[in-house]
């Protein structure tokens, strides 16, 4: 009822304007590259009305007929003012240039007064400059590592790019690349994300007050937009770092009409891992192996007219890890060679085609067709050849005859899991007047989950056996699911000081014979009693219909996405937020946000259950429960000047609660793994001169929680087990091995889940950039140090028995992966 009243009010307000209104619309682009600027502002200084460009750089501002004075601005760019008399709907495409006077601004956290102008809260723009100026492991600047420095965001295990937002799980973040969801977002088992910074134009991060067009995950949205490509001239750059090398090429195919952007990254980590592995042994055998990954982004955009524009983008990223065993045996007559290779290979393929069409100055649409494939494979190839001789006894003649033989065996198996998504969406921006900015549309995704198929080939020369078999894991079959979302929202400027953003999303998720529907209201309000001060509040409901099955804190390719089932309901989250924003103190911005989030149907493995690569009957292994999270987030930013950066502080609490018969923790509440009470993130960027600038980050997280055992208990077995004990009777020269039956066993005793709070994590990273501008190019040397004071942060903790000289005792062993790591990166732009 309350929603229908609200929407009635909105539609009434649409018709209450008798004065003639005209619309100014167009694109705001970078003067040099013609790259569209996302989030640039247009402000009419006469009527005091404004608008912001959407993700395609399009704006629409409806104003009263007559004189107008439009100011176009974007942070780091020279504002432009355009004065004219508005007599008809007018198209104004504006090109802004980077302002020389502002060059001293090394980075800017986001556009000025963003917290004040937008009705939304809990959202942050992360420009590429910020990403590039965040020091990271081995110089690999990373979108996700930058987001981890924002308030309300928890890092996974130290050094990983996983994020946990406001008490949500790691699979509750919707990560979009040019509008298509990305299932596997990291390389190197979670330490680097798949986003090549050079390919990225802008990243927007939402943790509450989600725009209605985003659906499918309950905790956060990370919208990554890639560069369109320079419409004017060719720009190239390449970087060489310790871990990887990257390149970017962009330029016009036809000036001001068509452009392209291609970027790639590949690693030479194998060069490092091969020698390390060569000195490692498993079961006494030497092994060798390696690891590599690559990312490739390509995008073409074509401007048919001021009304139509087409974008085609493509991403391919692959990781491969392999181990090889080789065994050779030679003697005078016999020769044997065994080759055994294991591999893990995984990767995303994402392609989107987007068509922008301006129906009228007030109605903009974007149609997206997306194809998304994630595939994981685990395989084994075994080859052996034997050459030698054997004796053939002839019973008739009594002769023992030597016979030469050659034999070979070949075995190959591959286990695959994949997801294929086909998506179609249409998003409309409708700006009927200066008071309303209405967004509506739909999003349809056809999911095809193909979990756990295996393919084997087997050939042997012994008996000519040959097989070529496709085996599907019992119970595992293709799962088709259809997801449809309808949404609408309105950014309604009731008065200059009061903005309201009501909206909703309605989703349908059909899987098997079951269809789930979910109505998700979204609501936010902003009140600005003073010019530089705003108070906001929001309510958001989100739902999620896919889950990631994983049993380890590091990201493994065998982690498996599965849709909800007839028994497992969609996870939902309701979040209430309030915030205070102040931007009146020189170049500083302050914000304080508080939230309370309730999660329902959150999944946890039942006690003793675990997913180790197989999804069969996964729904029997998990239980549905509730989660709660609350916190306060403070963000202080300095957005201009020679020294910029921000300080974020989060005070939070997050726990899980399952009923007594769920099989989870005996029904007792327990803290969420990443329930870290205090988090501090400091980002500092200092520009010393045109040549040298310094970036530093320091983070502090209270300890996360781990389940550790502290003693031993007895468990009963339903029947006797027989343990084999090897024994040899030396007197009689015979095997005297025996079995001992047992019907009990000993195991670790764990009182409660997440029963131990790990030590706090703190980390300092420093990077220095030395720029050298030449006539036609720029060279940048980046020297960075990860974990500058070598903090021994815990990556894993487990209890074990140790002897410290005074006797054996149970201790908690803390393992630290990433010590002080210096690195250097050389970048050449031309």
């Amino acid at each position: 009822m309350k929603y229908s009243l609200l929407f009635s009010l909105i539609f009434l307000s649409l018709n209450t304007f008798a004065q003639k209104k005209l619309t100014v619309s167009g694109y705001i682009t970078d003067e040099k590259s013609s790259e569209t600027l996302i989030g640039a502002t247009v402000f009419d200084q006469n009527s005091k009305h404004g608008a912001i460009t959407n993700v395609f750089g399009f704006y629409s501002l409806t104003l009263p007929e007559g004189a107008c004075s439009l100011k176009f601005s974007y942070v780091g760019y020279t504002p432009q003012t355009l004065e004219f008399t508005l007599t008809k709907d007018t198209l104004v495409n504006i090109k802004l240039s980077e302002e020389a006077a502002l060059e001293e601004i090394v980075v800017t956290a986001q556009k000025d007064d963003a917290g004040i102008t937008s009705t939304k809260m809990g959202s942050l723009d992360v420009p590429v400059k910020i990403i590039e100026h965040t020091p990271a492991i081995l110089g690999e600047t990373d979108v996700m590592k930058t987001i981890q420095l924002m308030p309300g965001v928890q890092q996974g295990t130290a050094g990983s790019s996983a994020i946990y937002v406001r008490g949500g799980g790691g699979d509750e973040n919707l990560i979009l690349l040019d509008g298509a969801p990305v299932y596997k977002i990291d390389h190197c088992f979670g330490f680097f994300s798949v986003f090549t910074p050079e390919a990225v134009k802008k990243v927007t991060f939402y943790k509450s007050s989600f725009p209605a067009r985003y659906n499918g995950r309950v905790s956060s949205v990370i919208d990554v937009r890639t560069k369109d490509g320079d419409m004017q001239k060719f720009q190239n750059s390449f970087s060489i770092g310790l871990l990887s090398s990257r390149f970017t090429v962009e330029g016009p195919i036809k000036k001001d009409k068509t452009s392209f952007s291609v970027s790639g990254r590949t690693t030479y980590l194998s060069l490092l891992t091969v020698p390390i592995m060569s000195i490692m042994k498993i079961d006494g055998e030497k092994i060798n192996g390696g690891y590599w990954f690559y990312d490739f982004n390509a995008k073409v955009n074509h401007k048919f007219s001021d009304k139509d524009r087409l974008y085609v983008s493509f991403y391919r990223g692959v990781d491969k890890f392999w181990i090889r065993d080789k065994y050779e045996w030679n003697d005078t007559e016999d020769k044997s060679t065994d080759n055994d290779k294991y591999f893990l290979r995984w990767g995303n393929l994402i392609s989107t085609v987007r068509w922008n069409h301006v129906f009228s100055p007030r109605l903009f649409s974007n149609t997206t067709f997306s194809f998304n494939k994630y595939k994981m494979a685990v395989g084994n190839v075994y080859e052996c050849t034997r050459k030698g001789s054997s004796y053939d006894y002839n019973f008739e003649t009594g002769e023992n005859k030597s016979v030469k033989y050659t034999s070979s065996e070949y075995y190959e198996s591959e286990y695959n899991s994949s997801i294929i998504d086909l998506g179609l969406s249409d998003d409309f921006d409708f700006m009927p007047n200066e008071k309303h900015d209405i967004k509506f549309g739909f999003n349809y995704i056809n999911h095809n989950f193909d979990p756990e198929t295996a393919h084997t080939r087997y050939k042997t020369s012994y008996n000519q056996d040959k097989s070529d078999t496709l085996i599907r894991r019992p119970g595992a079959k293709n799962i088709y699911a259809n997801e449809l979302s309808l949404y609408a929202e309105d950014d309604w400027k009731i008065a200059n000081s009061l903005h309201l953003n009501p909206g909703f999303a309605y989703t349908l998720f059909a899987v098997g014979n079951k269809t789930y529907s979910n109505f998700q209201p979204r609501f936010s309000i902003k009140y600005s009693p003073l010019k530089n001060f705003a108070v906001k509040a929001s309510y958001t409901r989100m739902s999620q219909c896919v889950h990631l099955l994983s049993s380890t804190p590091i990201s493994l390719p065998t982690d498996l996405w599965v849709p909800i089932t007839e028994n497992i309901k969609p996870e939902t989250a309701e979040q209430y937020s309030v915030g205070l924003y102040y931007t009146g103190f020189m170049m500083w911005e302050f914000s304080l946000e508080g939230y309370y989030k309730e999660l329902d149907n959150v999944l946890e493995y039942k006690d003793g259950m675990s997913f180790m690569g197989f999804s069969s009957n996964w729904q029997d292994l998990v239980a549905m429960g509730k989660g709660k999270s609350k916190g306060l987030e403070l963000l202080v930013k300095k957005v201009a000047g020679k020294a910029t950066g921000w300080i974020s502080y989060t005070l939070s609490k997050s726990d899980r609660d399952f009923d007594a018969h769920s099989g989870v923790n005996n029904g007792d509440p327990f803290p969420f793994t990443y329930d870290r009470r205090h988090n501090i993130g400091i980002v500092y960027n200092q520009k010393f001169s045109d040549r040298i600038d310094l970036d530093a980050t320091w983070t502090y997280y209270s300890g996360s929680h781990a389940t550790v055992s502290t003693s031993r208990e007895t468990v009963i077995l339903p029947e006797n087990k027989y343990e084999f004990y090897y024994n040899y009777d030396y007197q009689n020269h015979r095997d005297a091995s025996y079995y001992i039956p047992r019907n009990t066993s000993r195991t670790e005793y764990v009182e409660n889940r997440n029963n131990y709070t790990l030590p706090a994590t703190h980390l300092l990273c420093i990077g220095i950039n030395i720029h050298k501008q030449k006539k036609r190019c720029e060279r940048i040397f980046n020297f960075s140090v990860y974990n500058a004071y070598n903090a021994k942060n815990p990556n894993f903790c487990f209890s074990t028995v140790a002897d410290d000289g005074t006797g054996e005792k149970t201790v908690l062993r803390k393992i630290t992966f990433l010590p002080l790591i210096p690195s250097v990166t050389w970048t050449y732009k031309f």
């Binding site: 088992f189 181990i323 084994n380 065998t558 389940t707 502290t710 006797n720 009182e751 201790v811």
Partner: protein, 380 residues
């Protein structure tokens, strides 16, 4: 796959800057009362084990007070364990009874109260020998062939509610063998067991085959590609081509595929002591030394509750090595159902069939032809 996981762990540990040991406060988790037992309906010898958690190992408690209440009435009480540390409860309970086991020790009380599950209905079982049965074995070969006992079971679900079961298999093998080398007859009896497991049909002195070659897996198999099980999960995970499989060692399943209806199941047990069909003998004198085989298969379906189901699944995970990398996964909290302490008291109702597959069977003697090499055939 485990190899890859191990290698990843090893690699990351190699790269790790350090490991550091932190002292743990163990006081709170030492001395927790731990009560365990598989208790069967209509059984006069159920065993309860009482221990306390300890830092290095659990401590057996032989002087705890163990009470069994049946439908709210104290039915039996024990104040000390036998010499083997077992509290043996002789009082029978039956399906549908509410049974409570309460243990007092050192001022602590731990208990478990639950309703005893019902027996399955219309239980039938057959055992036949299948020679050279094809099966999918491991990642190393796509198929293998062995002699197997084919066990066919049929039963009707207890109800249309969610029910949990365990397949009980046990066997008794008795072989009289002629050992040529020592010129004497040896009796090889593969028996063992714990006398306190019993069932309502027949008093069984349970036996478990001891496998001579430890390289073989001593568990039952389902031929998935040929005879799909009707249960919610297969008895083993045969077709997994990476060795991360969780083997269903304890053979638990639920009724999700046959709720309220009939279940038919076919499982195979690899034979390690199959009667020879023929045996070469040198003369009539050798006939008395022909080997003799006896094989009895016990087949049963135990109705268990949800707690027991998940507890046994956890044990499957442990037996399969799924939790070997606890450095990565964190410690595994066992499924437990005892309030006020730890452990599992499981009430089960088992229906059993005893099937004699071979009863003193001897191979058919084959006399070599005159021109055959005696030794060649004899040793064959």
């Amino acid at each position: 796959m485990k190899k890859i996981i191990f290698l990843l762990s090893a690699l990351t540990f190699f790269l790790s800057s350090c490991k550091e040991d932190i002292e743990l406060n163990l006081e709170s988790t030492v001395g927790v009362l731990c009560v365990n037992g598989f208790l069967y309906a209509d059984c006069d010898s159920n065993v309860v084990l009482v221990t306390e958690t300890g830092t290095a190992s659990p401590r057996e408690i032989s002087n705890a007070g163990v009470k069994m209440f049946i439908n709210g009435t104290l039915a039996e009480e024990k104040t000390s364990a036998d010499s083997a540390g077992r509290y043996i409860l002789r009082k029978k309970f039956f399906p549908g009874d509410i049974v409570k086991i309460e243990v007092d020790y050192g001022g602590k009380t731990a208990y478990r109260e639950a309703q005893v599950p019902e027996y399955v209905k219309d239980f039938e079982a057959e055992v036949t020998l299948e020679r050279q049965k094809t099966y999918y074995n491991s990642e190393w070969a796509d198929f293998d062939k062995e002699d197997m006992y084919q066990i066919d079971l049929k039963f009707t679900d207890v109800s249309s509610e969610k029910n949990y079961y365990r397949l009980y298999l046990d066997e008794y093998t008795y072989t009289v063998k002629y050992e040529h080398e020592r010129q004497r007859i040896s009796d090889t009896v593969y028996i063992d067991g714990h006398e306190y497991i019993s069932n309502r049909d027949t008093v069984i002195y349970t036996q478990k085959k001891i496998v001579g070659d430890h390289s073989y897996h001593d568990y039952e198999r389902t031929i998935i590609n040929e005879a799909p099980s009707l249960c919610d999960e297969e008895m083993t995970t045969e077709n997994d081509l990476i060795d991360m499989s969780v083997y269903n060692y304890y053979r638990v399943f639920n009724n999700s595929r046959f709720a309220g209806g009939k279940c038919s199941m076919r499982v195979y047990d690899i034979c390690h002591n199959v009667p020879e069909e023929t045996k070469y003998v040198r003369s009539e004198d050798d006939l008395e030394y022909l080997p003799e085989y006896t094989y009895i298969q016990y087949v049963g379906i135990e109705t268990i509750d949800e707690d027991a189901y998940y507890f046994l699944k956890t044990l499957n995970g442990f037996e399969s090595g799924s939790f070997d990398t606890q450095e990565l996964t964190g410690a595994i909290k066992m499924y437990r159902n005892v309030s006020g302490g730890s452990g599992n008291i499981i009430f089960a109702a088992r229906k059993t069939k005893v099937i004699t597959v071979f009863d003193h069977v001897k191979p058919t003697p084959v006399f070599p032809d005159d021109d055959d090499d005696d030794d060649y055939y004899y040793y064959k």
